[in-house]
């Protein structure tokens, strides 16, 4: 069956450091992968999409890599800030209706 796995443990880092979150998947051959941010009690917010032919994508302090051989994506936040504290979700498209299949997410806590 198709699976998306993200670090189940919360990631605690100090302000200013780089946070790196991992997303691994099995039984998918995705054309693209997406990352979302979710704050407690709120809906997911789209951050970045990376296509299978892109090794890396950047947006401001965010960087995503996509290795289709390893079946893995890494999500980096550089110069992290307390406002970056949230749960980050990896998502792949599942089916013809472009429904998203989400991982459980990794909780990030950035402390001053």
């Amino acid at each position: 069956s198709q699976k998306i796995e993200q670090n189940s443990e919360a990631l605690n880092i100090q302000e200013g450091k780089t946070a790196t979150l991992t997303c691994n998947y099995t039984n998918y051959s995705p054309a693209y992968l997406q990352w979302y941010r979710q704050d407690p009690g709120r809906g997911p917010v789209f951050l970045l999409l990376i296509r299978e032919n892109e090794k890396e994508k950047r947006k401001e302090r965010l960087k995503v890599t996509f290795d289709t051989t390893l079946k893995q994506s890494l999500f980096h936040i550089t110069a992290s800030q307390p406002a970056d504290s949230a749960t980050y979700l990896c998502a792949l498209v599942d089916g013809s209706g472009y429904a998203l299949n989400f991982g459980k997410g990794t909780s990030l806590l950035v402390t001053p």
Partner: protein, 114 residues
């Protein structure tokens, strides 16, 4: 910036009652979705809707669930006879065109079934 809105923000209902959750999609978006998130669990897909019909649904979306776009603007999710296990956050999401893959989520409706 356009956003997806959902009402109500919180709905409390008794087991066996019908509930209707409402969503107003972003105006020029064509693809609509419902997801749910049980407390502490991952976001799960329920159903996708395009061109006034269901395009895909998950195993969760059984005969107790239905969706419609009654007036060309609102997008609704109906649960006919709620169960305790339907308690969750329900998110509406929309997508623009066929070439836009990112989805825009509403703030959610917290459904509590007692």
């Amino acid at each position: 910036e356009p956003e997806v809105t959902q009402t109500p923000s919180h709905q409390v209902t008794q087991m066996g009652q019908e509930v209707i959750l409402r969503c107003v999609p972003i105006s020029n978006h064509l693809y609509f979705y419902w997801y749910r998130q049980i407390l502490g669990q991952k976001v799960e897909f329920l159903v996708s809707f395009y061109n006034n019909e269901i395009s895909e649904k998950s195993e969760i979306f059984d005969d107790q669930f239905s969706v419609e776009r009654p007036d060309g603007s609102n997008f609704t999710l109906k649960i006919r006879s709620t169960k305790l296990e339907d308690s969750a956050m329900y998110f509406c999401a929309t997508r623009g065109s066929g070439l836009s893959y990112e989805q825009y989520f509403g703030p959610g409706t917290r459904l509590t079934v007692t």
